[in-house]
Amino acid sequence: MSILIDKKSRVVVHGLTGREGSFHGAAMLEYGTKVVAGMTPGKGGQTALDGKIPVFDTVEDAVRETGADTSCIFVPAAGAPDAVMEAAAAGVKTIFCITEGIPALDMIPVVALVQSAGARLIGPNCPGATSPGRAKVGIIPGSIHREGRVGVVSRSGTLTYEAVQAMSDAGIGQSTCVGIGGDPVIGTTFFDILQLFAADSETDAIVLIGEIGGAAEETAAAWAAEHLRDVPKVAFIAGRTAPEGKRMGHAGAIISGGAGTAASKVAALEIAGFRVAASPTELPQLLRDAGYRG
């Protein structure tokens, strides 16, 4: 099954006619993703990606004309919250917001509205998701993946690639890899993704890649301790050497008031039965140690 995206996902790319949108839109298409529409207000009626993909003025038009059910948003920070709301209002069920640098307070009403619309938002400031061999949405390089049965969830971008590459090199494939984003206010948390993996018949083990800041890893760990007791699960936490009070690149990666440290996250994960790697390269071995035979 995989989670979030699969061969049937029909993707509308917001900003497909832009620089990033066209580059990654083409990569998605090449990977085999059903990119069915582009959305750029004022360019409705045109086509993109060498004439292969129709472009619409509104998401509503895109949904009606192409049956799009998944959004991939590449619009600038000032317009991205509106883009998410437009997608949710048009009935899109899974919305990936790749855009980084969105003011955190802007996302508060957006997250609430998306929830009440019954949709799911991944991100913002996330690399997207790949269900290897099926489809990818976002900017994760398709080449690093290998088909398999380990679910990967991460707050990071390139660090995720590092971990996934290490797994693929070791012969361990993935059911779905999801980057949930490094911002303080995101639509989907570790906790949400673990729930989805728990319910996925094609995911047999979990890799969680966290970082300093907040308490999302701890919350997810507590849930996993109870509901993923017998599932092999490993983790990596970035930022053991990060100083307090500094934002480490991601808006959400900051230790404040002594909370959100790597140590507290590692401890919470270990208590919950995760094996925690000291380097991403250790993840494959730890998966084996945890009993994963895939």
Binding site: L105, L113, S156, L159, T219, A242, K246, A251, A262, P280
Partner: protein, 391 residues
């Protein structure tokens, strides 16, 4: 972005919140003049507070009282001579000392877990909220603002009653509402008043009335939102920002200076932290956090290299690039260019994988760079080079 207490107070005043008057002094003499003013206006004492962007000023001796102007000068000088958590005190805030009847804590903070604005209060003011949270979590009152409509008056009233401010209901409601308004007006992550105090106020008629005042203020701004508040850029304190951080910011890089010897250049924040962690694990000390971002081109790479080398302690460099959006060959070109221009020769270990890694490998080999295949390897090599350089 953190801003100084005095600037935070200015923002609160702009939003109509009650803050006692203050002046900022850069010298002891300026502090004395300010003290004279407040004492002549009726203050019994003045308070002098170090203006630094780190917590724990009080414990470090950075907050003191003075009863007359000459004492204010001496006290100000003693504070200006301090270094608090490594930060030299360059200015102090001088204001009338309040006659405090009761202190509470009140803040509005972006709560990640609930994805809402959280109004947080405690009847125990003046102490660190983290300490209260750890020791007596029941003493903390939390009220989440509606994600769509914001904080409602009834929520502000509830906070006021639960903090025991019922006798000052209207003012307390205005302050609680004002904190959230301040947060939204300036895109702050945190607006904290500690203490919010009931103070005795002696009127011109000699009569004492009690009222609420914001005696301290702490505001943290959302860096991502600064673009729409250009006026707030002026509140960035040049005294406390590392010049390298500033240059990096202006070049579109994320750079945080640390104390070690191994300069790190990485694409992506998580991977950059991981690279630092692995340097440390291999026995070295990272000199910086540096994220060149996604899609970085040659010129950005060259600028990043310049920043790293500007730190004289750096004696080895680790470049770790996992190409996704970023093209490995672009980074390789940037490195080659940067090395040609660089001021001093420092050993460098380069690891480039992902998009266009093969093209990068050819370029790097031609230019005789030391390369590594895995991150663990790269870290080990860089640490070895650093130790060799130090020896």
């Amino acid at each position: 972005m953190k801003i100084q207490e005095a600037d935070a107070k200015s923002l609160l005043v702009a939003q109509g919140l009650p803050v006692p008057p203050w002046e900022v002094a850069h010298t002891a003499v300026e502090a004395r003049v300010a003290a004279e003013r407040f004492l002549s206006e009726g203050a019994q004492q003045v308070v002098i507070k170090a203006q630094v962007l780190v917590g724990g000023r009080g414990k470090a001796g950075g907050v003191k009282l003075a009863g007359f102007a000459e004492q204010a000068e001496l006290v100000a000088q003693s504070i200006l001579d301090l270094e608090i958590k490594g930060i030299p005190v360059r200015k102090v805030l001088v204001g009338p000392a309040a006659d405090i009847v009761q202190e509470v804590y009140l803040s509005a903070v972006l709560d990640r877990a609930s994805r809402k604005i959280l109004l947080m209060g405690s009847a125990e003011g003046g102490v660190e909220i983290e300490q209260v949270a750890a020791e007596r979590p029941d003493a903390i009152v939390t009220i989440h603002a509606d994600p769509l409509l914001g904080l409602q008056p009834y929520q502000a009233r509830e906070m006021a009653f639960r903090l025991g401010l019922g006798a000052h209901l209207k003012d307390a409601v205005a302050i609680a509402t004002g904190l959230v308004r301040t947060m939204r007006a300036y895109d702050a992550d945190l607006v904290e008043i500690n203490p919010l105090a009931i103070v005795n106020d002696i009127g011109v008629d000699g009569l004492v009335t009690q009222r609420l005042q914001c005696l301290d203020a702490k505001i943290t701004l959302d860096d991502s939102a600064l673009y729409r508040h250009p006026e707030l850029e002026a509140l960035r304190d040049p005294d406390e920002e590392d010049p390298a951080d500033k240059e990096a910011r202006e070049a579109g890089l994320t750079f945080i200076k640390l104390d070690g010897t191994i300069g790190c250049m990485v694409n992506g924040a998580g991977l950059a932290m991981t690279t630092m962690d692995l340097v440390k694990r291999a026995g070295g000390e990272p000199a910086n956090f540096l994220d060149i971002g996604g899609g970085a081109r040659a010129d950005k790479v060259a600028e990043a290299m310049r920043l790293i080398l500007a730190d004289p302690k750096v004696n080895a460099i680790l470049v770790n690039i996992f190409g996704g959006i970023t093209r490995g060959d672009e980074v390789a070109k940037g490195l080659i260019e940067a090395r040609a221009q660089q001021s001093r020769d420092v050993p460098m270990v380069v690891r480039i994988v992902g998009t266009n890694a093969a093209e990068a490998a050819i370029l790097l080999e031609e230019a005789q760079f030391v390369t590594a295949a895995t991150l663990d390897d790269a870290a080990a090599q860089a640490v070895a080079a650093s130790k060799a350089g130090a020896a």
